[in-house]
Amino acid sequence: MIFWEIAKRNIRIHMLRSSLAMLGIIIGVVAISSMGILGNSLVASVSDNLKSVGDSVIVTPYAGGGSGHFGGGGGGQSVSLKITDQNFQQIKRVSAPNVAIPVYTTSDHMKIGVGSDDIVAPIYALPTKDVPDVMKLQAGDYNNGNSGCLVGSTFAKDHNLKVGSRISIGTGGDKGSLRVTGIIEERGMSFDISTDNALIVTPEWFENAYDRSKDYDEVVVKVKDGDTATVKTSIEKQLNKHKDNKIVSVMDSKATLASIFEAFGMVTTFVTAIGGISMIVAGVSIFNIMMMSVNERIKEIGIMRSIGTQKKEVMSMFIYEAAIIGVIGSVIGGILSLVAGYAISVLMLQTTKYLFTLATAISVVEGVGFGIVICLACGLYPAWQAANMNPIDALRHE
């Protein structure tokens, strides 16, 4: 149609002006989409790291307030706060048929090989039969004997450990020596047990080495049947009968995870909104350019109207102009936002594996769509003004 052609030609003869307007839209779309991509990649990355703990309920001794116990590295904690065997049996009973795993934790000095540096690492002890419920091995076997241990993947990598390597535990090796029987698959951050930098030993060895007897540091319930929230409530009902005399703190990892994702979602929305400000600035620029275009062509509008052009046709001519700038600018912005998303992912997350996902595509489509909508919205008033000009006044305009 002729009005589409006129819109195209008007953009072409005002190429610099139109390009600057497009640049504004490009920047706006890149800001919105790349922030969206970053936020989604961040959530995906955290989600990936935490996915293995989404089905756990972690029970720790009540410490007088809050339940913010994030597993691992329990060394140096108060020795008086423990979960008794009686409490553990209660937890086990109310959690059934889900598996309740009693866990000892500490951290201690250790040496790997002769003449190596003294290092400190967390040590967990949990029943061998329950280990497969919590972690998987990338090499070796679950230790069946008292002198065997499992090591986390990062720990093994950092200290060049293999299946069969030996580790001396305690200052000067006073707790004895353990042989690595398996290396645990990377688990990432975890609410229950953070194994990547830790040793896993048998409860028997732990009780013997640290003089402990059925007084656990935490209990992990792996919820396979039912809902973590229900299990949490059942445990609290059973053990924290008296409000003033709470025995345990119970954390539902799924609920905690949901809170974390919600927080990430808010951060994503916030940074995307900041990107949106640049889009609003671009919209103002489009509005300005469209108003200029209308003001420059008042006489032309008058001629068009006088020879039989309908208001809606005049309006369409300016809407087409805004749409062309919007679509071209937004599509270029969409492509560049993928490049920006790639760069940000490499710089901030050190990986691009979360880039080519549906969430990324949605972020780009949202950015492009928002860009086009902003352009159309900002072109609407100038187009309406052009269409509703009095043709007699417009014809007189010099």
Partner: protein, 225 residues
Amino acid sequence: MADIPVMSFEDVVKVYPLPAGDVTALDGVSFRVDRGEFISVMGPSGSGKSTLLNMMGCLDTPTSGDIYISGTRIGDMSDMELTNLRRDRIGFIFQYFNLFPLLNIIENVTFPMMLKSQKSVDPERGKEVLRSVQLDEKLFTHTPTELSGGQQQRVAIARALINNPDILLCDEPTGNLDSKTGAGIMDLMTELNRNGTTIIMVTHDPHIAEYSRRTILIADGRIVS
């Protein structure tokens, strides 16, 4: 049908309400234009010529009285209906040609045709009309700014004729041309009129008015002869 006038004004009054007081631009104007007439409208500045031209071109509606175009009363028409009437029944020729600088000559001429058909049109029809106004064929694909004033006015006449209108409304058609070129344009309009086109021309120039067969003289918003 033969005696229905192409245009008729019946006691048309146009009052512009202004803060300083109402201004009566047309005061009880009545006349009729029959098919095939060539009429010039003359009068001093401020006499109401432009208002009359706007009324004849359906760009404005009267405060009172009636205007009929080929028997159709325009007083109650919506903006959309008036626009369609301008497109289909009236051809406008302006003093400053008023061609669209973004379109080439063929596109300028076929523009009203495209408005009517709502789709692309055969450029042959545009070429045919351009040939009838004696424009050099080499210029058909040029833009208006590449043409002389006389050539631009021929293009404007071709554009006004493309939809076979009932009336050609001309506002000082030679006002921006030298006398020789102006005479050429008037010869063309005389020929168009001879071939049946109804022409109403507003002019200051008595020499140009001589080309018409009837002159309406207007003063203080009234027809004086």
